[in-house]
Point group: C2
Chain length 196, copies 2
DNA sequence: TGTACATCAGTGAACGCGCGTTCACTGATGTAC
DNA sequence: TGTACATCAGTGAACGCGCGTTCACTGATGTAC
């Protein structure tokens, strides 16, 4: 039976929210429309009242994942001891983030999938740029190079968490997180008072 | 009709070789058994004379991809101007590597897939460790911390190439590669004569 | 070296399953008067 | 405010397709004598 506009919007939200989490958890594939609709308390058939295709949901869910990530990062940074770069590293490079991709950074969770899903790349690009600029803002040193250095730091962060997840429960997994922290801090220190 | 043992081995090689390339190119999914058998000049039905299951091929192909990568890296390093860390960065962080995942580093191409494919993780772990130690050997500074720093550098490298691929043709893609080069060089310099 | 038989690499059709998408239908919502 | 009708959110069955896996079959290879 028909539902009110407000209820439709709520349903839409629930689908996108579920997708943003499940996609980060298991990738764009390995999550079925059926499963997402069930998690949103609906059934298969209604999906196309909300999205033109599964790919359309992928795009929207990716944008939502970046938004989630921003919000969550904000919360954690506010709670972290101190602030700035070190707080960011603490919040990103830890086991909780590694073990809970569904609530984590979409860059770490979805680079591989995005590389093979052209329709999602525009959303990825825009949001990656914003993330990188935010990270760049935490760095000292020359203002002009901050965007570039922000990008490099974000690549290193995502690479470390991605590798840590691929390594599973190994001890190397923890080393990857800790060593990346040191790598970034050393580079940041060197970047601050340029030639030493 | 039956083939000789030598021919079977050649067939096996062709399948694994094709798989090692296609998997890096498009991920573990998005490559069908049919396609791989065809690329090896065979037909679907014979697959199970070579592998117990598709997953078994995934594992074997991942190991092969690491081997390929090692060989290729060796060749390119030998041809590169100078050697050591800078040659490694030149060889890894460039557009050719970004645009040809099939011949490239399995860490950059497959971290996401491996994280979601437990049976492949043992192979990944072993080979990642070997790669990281090799990279660590290119770094100066304290011997004890070289493994850890090698791991961090490899994470940063893979993260940069992974992100560059996800960004597609954007200018940010080139920035990610160049900025990661700088990040690693700065960190390596700082790491050499520890506190400055 | 030659012969007879078992083995088995490779073929191509078929099976079964999951999944994205479509469709006829229901009945509450939204709208026009 | 009330009534009549069109709209459309959500349902559940069905369709079509791709893919991993199985299977009966073929004929060259490997082996035992």
């Amino acid at each position: 039976m028909r539902r009110s506009r407000a209820e439709k919007e709520k349903s839409h939200e629930r689908i996108v929210k579920a997708a943003a989490q499940r996609f980060r958890e298991r990738g764009f594939d390995h999550v079925s429309v059926d499963e997402l609709m069930a998690e949103a308390g609906l059934t298969r058939g209604g999906f196309y009242k909300h999205f033109a295709s599964r790919d359309a949901l992928v795009t929207e869910a990716l944008a939502r994942a970046f938004e989630d990530g921003r919000v969550r990062l904000g919360q954690l940074m506010a709670a972290a001891a101190g602030s700035g770069l070190e707080a960011c590293l603490d919040v990103y490079l830890n086991e909780t983030h590694r073990d809970h991709p569904a609530q984590g950074c979409p860059v770490a969770a979805l680079i591989g999938d995005v590389a093979r899903t052209p329709p999602a790349q525009a959303v990825f690009r825009e949001n990656f740029r914003a993330y990188a600029d935010w990270v760049g803002g935490l760095l000292g040193g020359a203002r002009k190079s901050r965007r570039a250095r922000g990008i490099a730091v974000l690549c290193a962060l995502a690479g470390a968490v991605g590798v840590a997840r691929a390594l599973g429960d190994d001890e190397l997994s923890d080393v990857a997180l800790a060593a990346t922290r040191e790598l970034i801090l050393e580079a940041a220190k060197a970047g601050k008072h340029s030639p030493c």
